[in-house]
């Protein structure tokens, strides 16, 4: 018996000595080290950030909000379009148990995700990464700062509260980060626009006079049918875009009559006056093709203009669905 126990334990101890190398490399997705090992990757982060933001800020946002704001109408169930148009209005699906909670959650995730791309890029540049040369690097930084503004502005417009996490935030100590009200978030968006403007000034001084061509795909291959600015975006035109967004953030950020009354309309006027004065409709990265989806879903197929809007253009048309008595006359 003792012999058996001895042999058993010896074998067990020998067996318990592990020996294999169990490290396996993930050959499907790069980690941060691989994904950002080249300065050009930093530019790619900004490109990716714009794509993410643009997808969310365009048709994904527009579909549910279009019907909710009564300038579109549709019965399709996807993306809360059907429910968003109900009269009386349903509550917005912002609880974990809501069926169409993605309408609320996807924007939060992707605006914050896009913001993170910008943060990583700016932190890398401020950490000394040079992309091609100093001027080019500054241009990328300016684009990243405007991306921060776009995301903070989108968050401030859509949510009551949001986090303000930028390149200065200590990611190791996120517990101390707290949600701040939307007006503070929107104010920070304006700050980022001004920061981008300052960086554009530095880029100009360093010899860059337009948005780097490498970033163009992120804002869209500028299809001649949709844009009057050609295939490059000068800093002047870029600043016009920034100014228009700044005006939008201020005006749309007001959520009550009181807040509306508190708007500095001179500031809005100044931004709007210096804002976009040309047709501009990028088609994103030519891959996700969100512009064509926007057309399909928003104007041609799933969602149609609301009678309320049609009535503005043709007063003979009824203003409200419920006023229609004979559909054959429409």
């Amino acid at each position: 018996m003792k012999k058996l126990i001895f042999i058993s334990l010896t074998m067990l101890l020998l067996a318990l000595q592990s020996c294999a190398d169990l490290s396996v490399e993930n050959l499907n997705d790069p980690d941060r080290e691989l994904a950002t090992q080249n300065p050009g990757d930093i530019e790619g982060l900004v490109v990716g950030g714009y794509n993410t933001w643009a997808l969310m800020a365009s048709w994904r946002t527009l579909l549910p909000h279009t019907v909710q704001s009564d300038w579109g109408t549709g019965t399709v169930g996807n993306w809360w379009v059907n429910n968003g148009g109900h009269v009386p209005r349903e509550e917005f699906p912002n609880t974990p148990t809501a069926s169409y909670r993605d309408v609320n959650q996807d924007f939060w995730d992707d605006f914050n995700g896009s913001m993170a791309n910008a943060n990583i890029a700016i932190a890398a540049i401020e950490g000394g990464v040079i992309i091609e040369d100093e001027a080019y690097t500054l241009a990328i930084k300016a684009a990243a700062q405007f991306l921060q503004a776009l995301n903070l502005g989108s968050l401030g417009l859509m949510y009551d509260q949001a986090f303000i996490i930028d390149e200065t935030t200590d990611l190791e100590n996120l517990d101390g980060i707290e949600l701040v009200p939307y007006d503070v978030v929107l104010l920070e968006a304006l700050n980022k626009i001004e920061a981008a403007r300052a960086t554009i000034g530095l880029a100009r001084n360093a010899g860059m006079d337009s948005l780097p061509s490498g970033l163009i795909p992120s804002l869209g291959t500028i299809d001649s049918r949709w844009s009057a600015v050609g295939s490059t975006i000068s800093w002047d035109n870029f600043e016009k875009i920034m100014n228009s967004y700044a005006a939008t953030f201020i005006v749309m950020g007001a959520r009550s009559v009181t807040e509306n009354d508190q708007i500095n309309w001179q500031e809005v006027y100044d931004y709007a006056s210096a804002g976009i004065d040309f047709d501009f409709a990028p088609i994103s990265d030519n891959n996700t093709n969100w512009q064509s989806q926007l057309l399909r879903y928003l104007y041609a197929d799933w969602v149609r203009p609301n009678l309320n809007i049609i009535n503005l253009m043709d007063p003979d048309m009824p203003k409200d669905f419920f006023l229609v008595t004979d559909w054959s006359e429409l």
Partner: protein, 1022 residues
């Protein structure tokens, strides 16, 4: 003097020693079946004292020679029969003794090999290892091995969530262990640890299936075993007599057909003119009738379900060759299976299996065993889910002519119903080429060396290799709906191919010792190394430049895309297991295991598991009237679930070449850790009954969950974390009974019962939906403190009291509301009018918040119960399996979505009493744009006549001149899924989501319906 004494003493010893007494006595005779008298070729006769034995030969005789005179105990055994021990057999000279054996109708003599240190009688187990043998498996053989377990043992849920031929059923053992992912057990076939499902395994080859249901039994398999283990052994020739060869040829032919149709609305709510045609307005639109009530017959009506579902053929051809050479045995088999399924124009699934098993002894100490299987299959897959043919056919109106022609004269007009935007399901089935091909090889080779009686070594290597090639070809010119018109597209092609490879090498040492004190010990130590690889590449393109050639090069370059994905998993495991018993009365088993895996986080590469089990066979000490065996047992064991390959890694995703942070890595990711306590009692009583009762409490912590990161800190979306605990309690009863046992009639029955409760006891993240997410419409909700498998969604107000719980209706007047004939509160005066609609229920919770989503369903059954019957009357045999689920619910999204087009039978008001008829707007309010709501939660209870078989066996003496050719010929009829009694309104209550955890995501979402199959069987044995 001393020498003389020694001499005398030696002489006395010699005179009385067995050696001197040894004679060349011979023991001969026959061993036969107690009922039929059939000779039992291959039965073993063994003399305990001399350890001499013989196997009954081809003529039914046995012979043991060189037996010394004496009084002996003789043990006679044979597979499927109760072992008989005959005491006090006096052998002086040649003796002839015939033995008869009784069939082991309740399988009380079975031995198991899974989860233990070696071959162990079930009576000596301290934990549950359920086993089903060839008799139960081959009564109505399933097409695939995974379906073979359905209804055959308690605590085993087998769900065939899709009837599509070539689809494996999902297996869950006892309660759930994983919050995310599936609950599939580890599957082993002849020692091969499978990396893929059982879909390629031929059920006709299976000799037995052993099932370890949880950590209390399956700890031996460590970090892959928290879901339990299913171990399958295929046929070998070891039970045949020396020199015997047995050939079996089996053919089965039959038809499959849909078991039930979905209730469908055959009416509409439009005005008809005097000739029965639709009245149209100036815009060409149909004019609704005054009350919008769908009670008008269509001018022309068809049953589109019958046109889509058409009976198909079922066929299997099987041949096996078993042999025993004396020094070894072999088994060779081939199977050809083809099942068309029940869908119009779809060829279904065909598979060919080839198996060769070999055991060969070299000398007395060395044994080589190999098990090899090869299969090749071809499946024409059918799209399932929203947008699939099952979806489209139910969306069309009954007047749609799906056999019409397209503008170019081709059949099955793409848009048969101009009122509906769905295309013709027949057109896709007839014109799109879908092809899935698989090849699979399973191989196991092991060498066993026994240098000493008490010591043996074994080395083994096994491999599971799957190669697949899938393609979907939509030809140029394929009609499609474009806006309000139809147009021909330019076609597309998608191809995917890849392989999976799992290799396992094991080195084992086993020590056995039987001590005179009555203590029996067996110790086994093993080292196991696994290497698993997967590599897949796919490519697609659209817009062919020329038609008729399915080649990617001919697609538009701008539309082409390629993807690839590859993984490798390396694992090493070591374990030791010690089984001990004292005179087979007090039984103890203990094991330790240490697993290391590349799937664990880099800082958590190893994890440890254990099991300790004990049993007491009371009736070995105490004699209790009427009770032949009483055993109590307890087992506490642990096992794990490994994270998915990608879980531990930090990832960046690349879209159009632009990187974005994906998931945050986790170096501390551990396998989920499951601990199970099992308490059980086994009783054999009145020589007729075999009762097993188990209670299991299983807790699985460190659940592996992809947890979203708030505000994407650092840019990462989410991180795989150990973030929750799931508890499952299972109560199981299994009762086997011999109802009749006479020379002409043996009738046995098995009753299985289980009740499972599963609760989410801890979540380290906010509650959230899980499971299928169709049109943003998830159903199943994870919430701490609530059962696992619950549905959350909207409720409708059913009383005025409920209405007032919503502050918005605080001042409402009860006179303004009534409860309608469906039991929902509506505005008074609206019933039967277009204004009638349900009202959403809201209430204020304890925090003062208004809430509008509630728990509306629970997939968990109250209990499951099954009853199988085996009746053998003379040459007839009858088998039936009844299987029932009582309680539990299904979310019927199939029903809900077709409310969109007003096509469900609920909306058909024809035949409804006046006063209960409702306008289509009412049903539109229930549809609620596919928001999850209580109206579509349905009772999943059912009673199924799952399997029936009637066979008649012609024995050799009945075959006349064919008796020289055949040992027996069996003819019979089989039925699968024959009859279902249920209140569930879908095709089949055995339905579930199309992906993920099908045992818990019970949602009906346009899956290929399960169907019934009736076949005839003829089997020749010679």
């Amino acid at each position: 003097m001393l020498i003389r004494i020694l001499y005398l003493y030696s002489l006395i010893l010699l005179l009385f020693s067995p050696v001197l007494l040894a004679q060349n006595n011979m023991l001969t005779g026959k061993v036969t079946d107690a009922n039929s008298g059939v000779e039992l070729q291959g039965a073993t006769v063994f003399i305990i004292q001399t350890e001499q034995g013989a196997v009954v030969d081809l003529d039914g005789n046995y012979e043991i020679t060189s037996i010394p005179d004496g009084v002996y105990t003789i043990r006679i055994s044979f597979i499927g029969y109760r072992t008989k021990t005959v005491n006090d057999v006096v052998i002086e000279g040649d003796v002839s003794l015939d033995f008869v054996l009784d069939r082991d109708l309740l399988n009380l003599e079975e031995v198991v090999v899974t989860g233990v240190s070696g071959v162990t009688p079930q009576r000596n187990l301290a934990f549950t290892v359920d086993r089903i043998g060839e008799r139960e498996l081959q009564a109505v053989p399933a097409v695939s091995a995974s379906s073979s377990l359905q209804g055959k043992m308690p605590g085993v849920s087998v769900i065939q969530n899709s009837g599509m031929p070539g689809t494996a059923a999902s297996i869950r053992l006892r309660g759930s262990t994983a919050l995310i992912g599936d609950q599939s057990p580890l599957i082993i076939v002849d020692g091969v640890l499978l990396d893929e499902s059982l879909v390629d395994i031929d059920a006709l080859d299976i000799e037995s299936i052993e099932v370890l249901k949880g950590a209390s039994a399956a700890s031996l398999y460590g970090s892959r075993a928290a879901n339990g283990v299913v171990s399958i052994r295929t046929r070998r020739g070891q039970y045949l007599p020396d020199g015997a060869v047995q050939v079996t040829i089996r053919n089965e032919f039959g038809r499959s057909s849909i078991a039930r149709e979905l209730p469908w609305n055959n009416s509409h709510h439009y005005e008809l003119d005097e000739s029965g045609d639709f009245v149209l307005d100036s815009g060409g639109n149909r004019v609704p009738n005054e009350n919008y009530i769908s009670d008008q017959p269509y001018p022309e009506s068809r049953n589109l379900q019958r046109e889509l579902f058409e009976p198909g053929n079922f066929m299997t051809n099987y041949i096996s060759l078993l042999g025993n050479t004396g020094r070894g045995n072999y088994a060779l088999s081939f199977n050809n299976t083809h099942t068309e399924g029940i869908l119009f124009g779809v060829s279904g699934y065909s598979r060919q299996n080839l198996r060769f098993n070999l055991d060969q002894n070299f000398g007395d100490n060395l044994r080589l065993s190999t098990s090899t299987a090869y299969s090749t299959s071809n499946q024409e897959p059918v799209p399932q889910g929203p947008g699939s043919p099952f979806f489209r056919v139910l969306m069309l109106q009954p007047n749609a002519d799906i056999y019409g022609t397209n503008p170019d004269g081709s059949r099955y007009n793409i848009r048969p119903d101009p009122q509906v935007s769905e295309s013709n399901p027949l057109y896709q089935l007839a014109n799109q080429e879908r092809d899935n091909r698989r090849q699979r090889f399973l191989g196991d080779i092991r060498l066993n060396y026994n240098p000493l009686d008490w010591l043996s070594f074994e080395g083994s290597y096994s491999i599971d290799r799957v190669d697949f090639r899938n393609s979907v070809y939509t030809p140029k010119g394929f009609w499609q709906i474009s806006g309000n018109s139809v147009a021909q597209g330019n076609g597309s092609l998608t191809k995917a191919n890849g392989y999976g490879l799992a290799q396992t090498a094991i080195a084992t040492a086993t020590l056995r010792r039987e001590f005179r004190s009555g203590i029996n010990t067996r110790f086994r130590a093993s080292y196991q190394f696994e290497n698993r690889e997967y590599d897949e590449t796919s490519a697609s393109g659209s817009n062919f430049s020329v038609g008729g050639i399915p080649r990617l090069n001919l697609t538009d370059q701008d539309t082409r895309s390629t993807q690839s994905f590859q993984t490798q998993i390396k694992t090493e495991n070591v374990f030791g297991i010690l089984d001990m018993d004292y005179r087979e009365r007090y039984i103890i088993s203990a094991l330790l295991r240490r697993d290391g895996s590349s799937e664990f986080g880099a800082d958590q590469r190893y994890s440890n598991y254990y099991r300790i089990s004990g049993a007491y066979r009371i009736t070995e000490d105490l004699s209790i009237n009427g009770i032949q065996e009483l055993k109590v047992r307890a087992s506490l064991g642990t096992a794990g679930l490994r994270p998915p390959f990608q879980a531990q890694y930090e990832t960046y995703s690349l879209s159009g070449g632009a990187p974005s942070p994906g998931n945050l890595g986790n170096r501390d990711l551990r396998p989920a850790f499951s601990k199970e306590l099992e308490l059980g009692v086994d009783v054999e009583f009145l020589n007729r009954f075999d009762l097993t009762v188990n209670y299991s409490n299983q807790e699985t912590r460190d659940q592996i969950v992809l947890v979203p990161l708030s505000a994407r800190a650092g840019g990462f979306n989410a991180q795989w974390q150990n973030a929750g605990t799931l508890e499952a309690k299972t109560f199981e009863v299994s009762l086997g009974a011999i109802i009749m046992d006479s020379p002409n009639l043996q009738w046995t029955a098995n009753l299985n019962f289980d009740r499972i409760r599963q609760t989410v006891t801890q979540l380290n993240f906010p509650p959230r939906f899980v499971g299928p997410n169709l049109q943003s419409n998830a159903v199943f909700y994870l919430n701490e403190g609530e059962p696992f498998g619950i549905m959350y969604g909207r409720r409708w107000v059913r009383s005025f009291e409920e209405l007032q719980r919503n502050p918005a209706f605080e001042g409402a007047n009860p006179q303004d509301y009534i409860v309608n004939s469906d039991g929902f509160l509506i505005l008074a005066g609206t019933e039967g009018t277009p204004d009638e609609e349900v009202i959403r229920y809201f209430e204020v919770d304890e925090n003062g918040d208004l809430v509008g989503d509630f728990r509306i369903g629970d997939v968990n059954p109250d209990f499951n119960i099954s009853l199988s019957q085996n009746i053998d009357y003379k040459n007839w045999s009858f088998y039936a399996l009844l299987d029932a689920q009582v309680g539990g619910e299904i979310y019927n999204l199939t029903k809900q979505w077709i409310f969109r087009e007003l096509r469900h039978g609920d909306i058909d008001q024809r035949g409804k009493p006046e006063g209960e008829r409702k306008a289509v707007q009412y049903y539109n309010s229930l549809y609620d744009a596919n928001n999850t709501n209580e109206y579509f939660v349905e009772d999943a209870s059912y009673l199924k006549l799952r399997e029936v078989a009637v066979n008649y066996t012609f024995r050799q003496n009945q075959l006349g001149r064919f008796g020289n050719m055949f040992n027996s010929i069996r003819v019979g009829m089989s039925g699968r899924n024959l009859l279902t009694l249920t209140r569930y309104s879908g095709f089949d209550p055995e339905v579930s989501g199309l992906e993920g955890d099908v045992s818990n995501y019970r949602i009906d979402s346009y899956a290929y319906p399960n169907y019934r199959t009736i076949t005839g069987v003829i089997e020749f044995t010679f």
